[in-house]
Symmetry: C2
Subunit: 454 residues, 2 copies
Amino acid sequence: MKKIIVIGGGAAGAKAASKAKRLEPKNHVELYTKGDVIAYSLCGLPYYIEGSVKDINKLIVRTPEEFIENGIQVFLNSELQEIIPDKNCVLINNNHIFYDELILATGASVKIPDIENINANNVFTLHSIQNGIDIKNAMQKAKSVLIIGAGYIAVELIEAFIANNLKVSVVEVNTRIFSDFDEDFSVAIQKIISDKCARNLDFYLGAKATKFTTDEKYNFKSAILDDESEIFADFCILATGTKPNVEIARKAGIQTGVTGAIYVDNKMRTSISNIYACGDCAQKYYIITRQPTYIGLGTIANKEGRVAAINATSKDYFENFDGVLNSTITKFFEYTISKTGLSYQNALEVSKNVNLEPIQATVSKKDKASYMPGASEIKIKLTADKRSGELLGAQALGTRDNVAQRINTITSALKSRLTVEQLLHLDLPYAPPFSSSIDPILTACYKLKEQLSK
Amino acid sequence: MKKIIVIGGGAAGAKAASKAKRLEPKNHVELYTKGDVIAYSLCGLPYYIEGSVKDINKLIVRTPEEFIENGIQVFLNSELQEIIPDKNCVLINNNHIFYDELILATGASVKIPDIENINANNVFTLHSIQNGIDIKNAMQKAKSVLIIGAGYIAVELIEAFIANNLKVSVVEVNTRIFSDFDEDFSVAIQKIISDKCARNLDFYLGAKATKFTTDEKYNFKSAILDDESEIFADFCILATGTKPNVEIARKAGIQTGVTGAIYVDNKMRTSISNIYACGDCAQKYYIITRQPTYIGLGTIANKEGRVAAINATSKDYFENFDGVLNSTITKFFEYTISKTGLSYQNALEVSKNVNLEPIQATVSKKDKASYMPGASEIKIKLTADKRSGELLGAQALGTRDNVAQRINTITSALKSRLTVEQLLHLDLPYAPPFSSSIDPILTACYKLKEQLSK
């Protein structure tokens, strides 16, 4: 028997608590969270705002009651104040609580940009169930919205707002959207979004909001950009990325890594042996570069929560988390945008420190047999290392699930460090409704091979 | 410069001729085919019959004129009579034609079962463009059809005929359909098909047609089964599988393998050094079992045609074909059925000769976040080897492209011989419209892992 304390009720914490209890029913598992809901899907919020998910309670995977039924003690509205590793103890709501093993799943917070009047009313972030409710309420009373940032959350919210007939403005400090993709993809993605939204969407790229103006009730009225132009909107969303919540851990002497997130080994152990960290507060290991990285994603949080619980419970259940590929996917109306591993530009940057010589090949091809109804264009780029021949990453843009089909295939290729040569004739299942007889990813491999043999 | 002769105008032959010419424009490339069309998609025929492909000419990827424009000589209605390796010469339409390199892409033929009156009118196979036209004509005049066989072609034709309001009977000698899947999948697939077609479809499983009755014009009238029951239909389809066309090659002393298909090495060379074989006439190497196998599929034919042409053209362009995973996929209305590698039953059979201890895990789970509209059930089974921990295969049944997404992922895992442990936390891109936060294939891996650690 062990007493395992989990801090945080998001994907990582909820999974860790459940797994720790299920593995060893005799464990005392206590989950503490500062909020009043646990085990909810943040990733589902844009679809609630958009309207395809009608009931926000559907985003709650498991209620506190269900946890309690499984024998897990749940403490809501309980914020971590201090960790005292020497005493195997945490301070929560001014109570000292002792543990055998501590699992930190303190999550991340939205990076708040330095803008005057950032705290005005009607300026929202999207990082909790309550945020989702607030944004949906604001949207229903509004005709226009300003989004600061142009990443995944921003694009998912553009769809939600356009579907609800709002006029949308987007201000992004980079000169292009989706800057984790290569520029040609950024341009293609932006074109799709712009074409779809027509006059209801304006992008302000390479622009920075310096000040929000407000009305007499301190409600958001407009944003002033660095070129002094002014964008009016009924409310504003900050979709400016997240940063790991590490302050309390750091104060307790728990080591953080070069990314600023909590350092963990492949068993999710921190620098203190009976303290684990998982999810958005924990640093990741990037399989491709063999370097630390940071990305906050629900699916990774889930997996890490599982591994933290397994290793915290017992040496017998031993499991490693090998690292991430920085895989992402999102939909925009009927389009799908996805990537895994390094873009060509990523690879060029990495090649300054790591022994790599990046090459790339792009293919635009029908996503199924060209004679099939509904065949549509898929654009795929593969990157590889000319020296080793190993694949480094893939980006894809197309319609529906046909993109996931290709990117998922590349994830397992990257995991096993397949070379272009080894992937060249991969026996992907073929029928006319699903692919061309030579799949677009193999066509891209053929192109890479030509470069490899030069 | 070389003179390269290609025999056969299907996927393998057409690809081989095109590639050989493109690689070395000075090559003299001649393509001989017994039919009057080349480079057509047999796989598309069911969708032409069904009606979603309106114009059968769309199934012709490239016309003879396009080949000629590219400098490839094309000889239609030219049947191979003899190969004379000693003289580097083939006999075609009674002419002796000399070659430097010969590429055999003689394809396969439908296995004709031993049934009395098998040659009756209105008894069709589906193995050429003309067959497709004939079947569509027959369908348009008919109210009912009998299909002998219950594999991929049969199921694709069931959809076509049901969509065109025919009454369909299916006679299959095995006691279940899709016998390359495990029995639980066969049962689930059959249930989906039966539910969808309701009273318009009857399966006769474990049954054998022994005789066709005919009318006075020798038109098909009914089939008599081995239990003496009689099934009436307006026409009949033989979907009884294919066998490689190897007779002329064998007579010329070209070695065939244990599967009966032409033996080739990983450069698609036959036992005679300047004679290559590719596509449905050639034996395959099965990556999983490291044993010979035979499967006739358009996508493999394409890849092999490419490799044969590369190696026939020059030692400089050297390329290997590593083998197949016996991956297949088909759609049935909104459902998708797919597999790659070994089923559990396949693995048990193989384990008699190969050092394997098969284990299996099946997961039924929503194919996207359960709260997303359109989330539907996907059933996935993974098989693995308890001794090495290596994955052996996957089967999946669900709706739309979500099945391809998962099976494709497993193909690259199989190609690189990933273990369950290595696949366990694969960083598949996640967003609610595409997957659950732990993908069903990873849930299946978790289940396999439990068995591995026992």
